[in-house]
Symmetry: C2
Subunit: 409 residues, 2 copies
């Protein structure tokens, strides 16, 4: 006998934002189940619940304690998962909701951004063996000391992929309010095309460089080889499958997969720093200790043994970063610290790129022909990113989408 197919389905907050939508999701799950697959569902909190709870916590306590905040926020997913289980039962199917704790999601104790350390699947398997559809509260887990944690950004997606890996599910389906992964933001590029499939590596770059998904769950899927299907819970249109790059060889003709952009970019520059070893460490260690990620770093040494050191970071962290950088700049003898909060980045992503020359020059030429100034450049094996003024980033995205003919599938 062929073992029954097992699918983990994750539904985002906008997909369960009210009672009617929850009933709609329940119906979709029951349909999958009737189609012969076993389903484990993972849900986010309803609509803006998490933001509302954070606002309430701030009203009560100013800067709330992280351990308390996590226990508070975990209620959002408890509410949506129990409601979804009820809705499924009311459609005549056995179902049970499980909190992160009950579902065996064990984490470390970094509140607000906990990492999953293990998934103990006994209870879930027990419930599935009873013929029940299992609904798991996403975004949360429990520490060794039985304290509730939340997983931070991309948390519910991560719960879903981790469960799919632990349960050896055939695939993990992420249902949300977008209907797949596009070659570029359709709001900016009218000719943007939905991708039928994409490699983990390409998707990671897309996610890191502007697409709506958080790279964390893609990484996890890549490590455990869990195919991730991204689609809309509001329609029946087919979505995008993220999987191992088996199809790449067949598709080498099209090297560029997508053109993400990101407006959350700022730059800090230390001018005329005496150029000696240890400056980078002195600068980037304290930033890293404060959890501030630095992106592109450029150092231009002049002939006078003075150097300009620039780096980009998320614009939302600029203020905090400047506070940390100021004393360091003084101690290393920088003449001045400047910053620019009006930048963006635009990238081309494609897994064939490293083996085919000419992509970079094609990118730079297309931008130049449209008078778009490139401030900084950074590359990875499958990505080239240009930092450009924010005012032209939409235009740059359209220009590049055309230049690489992404509207032609």
């Amino acid at each position: 006998m062929r073992p029954m197919e097992l699918v983990v389905q994750k539904y985002g907050g906008s997909s369960v934002a009210n009672a009617d939508l929850i009933r709609n999701v329940a119906q979709r799950i029951c349909q999958t189940s009737k189609g012969g697959a076993q389903v484990v569902a993972v849900v986010s909190a309803m609509g803006d619940t998490t933001e509302d709870l954070i606002a309430l916590a701030k009203k009560v306590a100013g800067s709330p304690d992280v351990r308390e905040l996590d226990l508070l926020l975990s209620t959002g997913e408890l509410v949506s998962s129990t409601l979804l289980a009820m809705a499924i039962r009311s459609l005549g199917h056995e179902a049970i909701s499980l909190s992160g704790f009950q579902a065996g999601i064990r984490t470390d104790s970094r509140y607000g951004k906990a990492r999953i350390s293990a998934v103990e699947t006994e209870r879930i398997k027990e419930e599935m063996d009873k013929g029940r559809l299992v609904v798991v509260a996403g975004f949360q887990g429990i520490t060794e000391d039985m304290d509730v944690t939340t997983l931070g950004r991309g948390g519910s997606d991560t719960t879903a992929v981790a469960l799919a890996a632990a349960l050896e599910a055939q695939r993990c389906e992420i249902y949300t309010d977008v209907d797949g992964i596009y070659t570029a933001d359709p709001q900016v590029v009218p000719g943007a095309r939905k991708l039928e499939r994409i490699d983990y590596e390409e998707m990671l770059e897309l996610a890191s460089y502007g697409a709506k998904m958080h790279p964390r769950s893609i990484e996890l899927g890549s490590v455990y080889n869990v195919p991730i299907y991204v689609a809309s819970s509001f329609s029946e249109t087919s979505g995008t499958l993220i999987e191992k790059g088996i199809a790449s060889a067949m598709e080498q003709r099209v090297k560029v997969t997508g053109i993400p952009y990101d407006r959350n970019v700022a730059r800090i520059t230390l001018r005329r720093v005496p150029d000696h070893p240890g400056i980078a460490a002195a600068l980037f260690e304290p930033l890293s200790n404060e959890g501030i990620s630095v992106d592109t770093i450029v150092q231009n040494s002049g002939s006078d043994k003075l150097t300009d050191l620039s780096f980009t970071l998320a614009r939302t962290e600029l203020e905090r970063a400047l506070e940390i950088v100021a004393p360091v700049a003084e101690s290393v003898g920088a003449e001045e610290v400047t910053s620019d909060a009006t930048l963006s980045k635009v990238s081309i992503i494609g897994s064939g790129m490293q083996h085919a020359p000419g992509y970079a020059s094609r990118m730079f030429r297309a931008l130049a022909e449209n008078n778009i100034n490139i401030e900084m450049i950074t590359t990875s094996e499958i990505r080239i990113t240009c930092i450009v003024p924010e005012s032209v980033v939409h235009e740059a995205t359209r220009v590049l989408h055309d230049a690489f003919e992404l509207d032609q599938g």
Copy 2:
């Protein structure tokens, strides 16, 4: 060294209904703590949260599954307890919130009306030893199978008294929107007087016969001899202490402690039933199986071997009870089933009563002199209850408050 005093304080839903009120409660707790006592707080869900969640569940699923509903409802107390812990911390005091599970509240698995089977106090004591104020989510516990239960009506009070018993606290303080226990409803009887203290037994009768508290927590307090102090969280006025009847002997002069009334009363009558053994069992067993409590039962046998059988029950259960009674009435040969949903009961409560005659007659006389008709009578050792038409129950309460001179302290 004298061991430090330990107090369990419970705050009801109206006391934590919004951010400002939560901060107010946090301040009260910190004050008690500064006064030198250790405090364990127990909170209900904010304001109408529980009702709102039930309404949402019904919208999603019609008649929601009880196991799911309990997990859903438990979030209400998680929210209020974490917020309260944050608020206390923001006042500079170490604090931690614990869910029912974390606080070691173990229950049976009767969802919606679970009974506490044990309180495992290790975690609470550990946190107290760290110098933390502990805030426990009321109303909830966890089964052997790690499923979340709720305790049903009076649940948070029960959590508080159970914790006070398990931790051997000096007393359990119940803070709510009323400032104590009165001789009668002050809204109905202008001369009603707040009691400084009352026996468990008297309070049990008061609670069962109309006072705002649920008898369950009083029972528990009585069994474990936990003094329960009822007061308002909105003022500094002193409340009422419920404790063992040590003072009774000194206060025998005043036998009647309070005059509760209850408008949630209905009566069902089976007319002209052939009088033979087994009728009562045939009637009351199916009602009991459905969880419907029957109160007063009166049977009048006539000379013709036919009997009228009347009983009262909560008006809210009348419809459901009539459905159960109808087939039974037919099978035992009753001529007719009638019901009356316009009744109420008024009681006098007093622990000296059983040893002093004349209370019943004084009660009946006072009602008769005011033309108040008594439909049925029922008594316990420390209570006499009259069923009267609902239209006159307020008047009856005032008449009895006067007759027993309860306005004179």
